[in-house]
Amino acid sequence: MSLPAEATVFAPSTSDRDQLAVLHPSTDLPALRRDGPLVIEQGKGIRVRDEQGREYIEGMAGLWCTALGYGVEELADAAAEQIRKLSFSHLFAGRSHEPAVALAEKLREMAPIANAKAFFGTSGSDANDTQVKLVWYCNNALGRPEKKKIISRRRGYHGVSLAAGSMTGLPTFHKSFDLPLPQFRHVTCPHHYRDAEPGETEAEFTARLAAELDELICAEGPETVAAFIAEPVLGAGGVVVPPEGYHPAIQEVLDEHDVLLIDDEVICGFGRLGTPFGAEAMDMKPDTVSVAKALSSAYLPISAVLVPDGMVDVIVEAGERWGVFGHGFTYTGHPVCAAVALRALELMEERNLFAHAARVGRYFQAGLRRFAGHPLVGEARGVGLIGACELVADKETRAAFPVHRGAGAYCQDRCLDHGLILRALGDTLAFCPPLIVTESDIDEILERFGRGLDETLAWVEAGGGAS
């Protein structure tokens, strides 16, 4: 491909044009207007290139999603083949097609719940909205129409659509959007480092959170509480690994009050924690499961809600009274997305990716923990191939930096200078590399992070951002 030079020289860059035509999602928009975007153009393996040709290690797997890395030929072929054969067909009104069925079978075989049927969507958000709607529909069908409330955790992230956004427990996604909706409640985030009382042990902390949940359910009335939704490890809220025993303790409360557990595996699903699903690593016994992101390694948008046969039976029986089951998207089970997802899951199996993730995950966690001694790092945490370093102003008191100081953002930018993409969630630097990373890739990631972190320390000591 040879473009006339002038046609590129005297043309605005993609970043110049961006500002005219694009409204960006989840972005500090005034800052974007000031600084312009970083335009990514190409990707191969765990690396991407920007429009200037600069290369970065994608330390965040995009948005926690590109498990198999970039440029996998088999997935390009799977997409091309399916597009040539049948680019679209749907699952409405009695239609079906092979790719959706084959993917559903594969998920039924892999799922962390028994006898799962799949309802497909295209994003984590729509999967979680579907979860809420299915629970509501079922409870209406079961003749308990008041059992509708959904409980989630503060700092949980479940997406941004109206129900998913209501379950998300981060103020940014609520304020000025009139969220959460009235049926949603939030409880304490299971982050011992931040949320435990002084001197409280992990076991005491866990017991307190279980009690808090129990009290909330009792106060609301158990007959009004339908489900509790949780990520096995909280991702976008700052990579929080709950204390050991947390999920079993929560489970006991849920069981007592007949409240379902919705397991949001959108990040943790498919090997992220070193197990096929996060539920296995975190000792969860979910009733239903949401998957997305790594389901297709982010090659195409696809999500799935996994629900047990019993719940589907309730929905089918309700059809006798109510007629058509009125939920579904044009792209539910999109054949191209489904074909690519199936191929992605096969590749994960062929390449023994989950075992690989478990092995390099241990190496990564050991490396990450070495930063715990750094003067800026309050906590280095994570499990498998997801991790974080939380920067603090004072290691002793755990005092955070003032928000406006932007220490996390500064560190993120320095890492970018060194060719490493991480994500600052406030002052917590998150790591979530593609699952195909090798130990030497991890060395490189941590070495680059170390340089960025040291520069951030120098900046903090020089009073940077403290005006």
Binding site: A5, V9, F10, P12, R17, L20, Q52
Partner: protein, 259 residues
């Protein structure tokens, strides 16, 4: 009041050979020079296009003749320069304008080929044209050489290294020859056009042109080929006798704008 000297501000009656006259700045320069009364030897690889340019000039009652000339062809250069000089009884002005542009990254498979072609047409051709025209220019009382470089010879944009190298080379050639030929009174200058509406930039949509110009140029707009032609004309006037070796940006302030 002391008498000002009366250096000529006209190219009337002079002969100008211009390359790349079928389109863009070459065509605009041919038409402007003819309108100013010069005899224009208009050349281009594109025979039909250059004949069209000449037809427009003739329709306006001015003097021009067309030659099909690929500046990548060394033999053809000699022949056409000789023919043009023979037709008009000499040569006063040479404008090296013909150009192509091929972008692409340094590690592209076709880079080597693209480099050869680019350097050949944009740089090697200039020295060949100049060497062929030199015997005639030496006979002129105001000999002028103008090479069309680019702002890409002053700075650079990614993915255009061959083009940028060639255009930087044009500036170097201009300077070297300005010094070398200065003792003979031959001036050698170059123009560095910025964003100009020609066939080369035609594929950039109008909206993108405006975004680019607003963000990057002082005048907040793209230039037209005539505006470059006027810059070239200025350097070719007999009165511009003390200007040599310059690389003149005609770029709406692209190169001076910082923010």
């Amino acid at each position: 009041m002391t008498e000002l000297s009366t250096l000529s501000r006209s190219i009337a009656g002079r002969t100008a050979l211009i390359t790349g006259c079928a389109s863009g700045m070459g065509r605009a320069t041919a038409k402007l020079f003819a309108a100013e009364g010069a005899h224009v030897a208009a050349t281009d690889i594109h025979g039909e296009g250059v004949r069209e340019t000449v037809a427009e000039i003739e329709a306006a009652g001015r003097e021009a003749a067309a030659w099909t000339l690929d500046v990548g062809d060394a033999g053809a250069i000699r022949r056409v320069v000789d023919e043009a000089a023979a037709r008009y009884g000499g040569l006063d002005i040479l404008v090296n304008n013909a150009g192509i542009s091929r972008g692409g990254p340094i590690d592209a498979d076709e880079y080597e080929e693209r480099w050869q072609e680019t350097v050949n047409v944009l740089l090697t051709a200039h020295q060949r044209m100049i060497r062929a025209a030199l015997p005639y220019l030496r006979q002129s009382d105001s000999p002028r050489i103008v090479n069309i470089a680019s702002t890409e010879g002053l700075g650079a944009t990614a993915m255009n290294s061959a083009y940028s190298a060639a255009k930087t080379g044009v500036i170097g050639l201009t300077r070297g020859l300005a010094v070398e030929l200065g003792r003979e009174g031959i001036t050698v200058n170059c123009i560095c056009p910025g964003p100009i509406r020609t066939a080369m930039t035609a594929r950039i949509p109008e909206e993108h042109k405006q975004i680019y110009a607003r963000r990057r140029t002082a005048l907040r707009r793209y230039g037209d080929p005539e505006e470059v032609a006027h810059g070239t004309l200025h350097l070719c006037l007999p009165a511009s006798s003390f200007i040599t070796g310059v690389a003149l940006p005609v770029d709406g302030g692209l190169t001076v704008r910082r923010a």
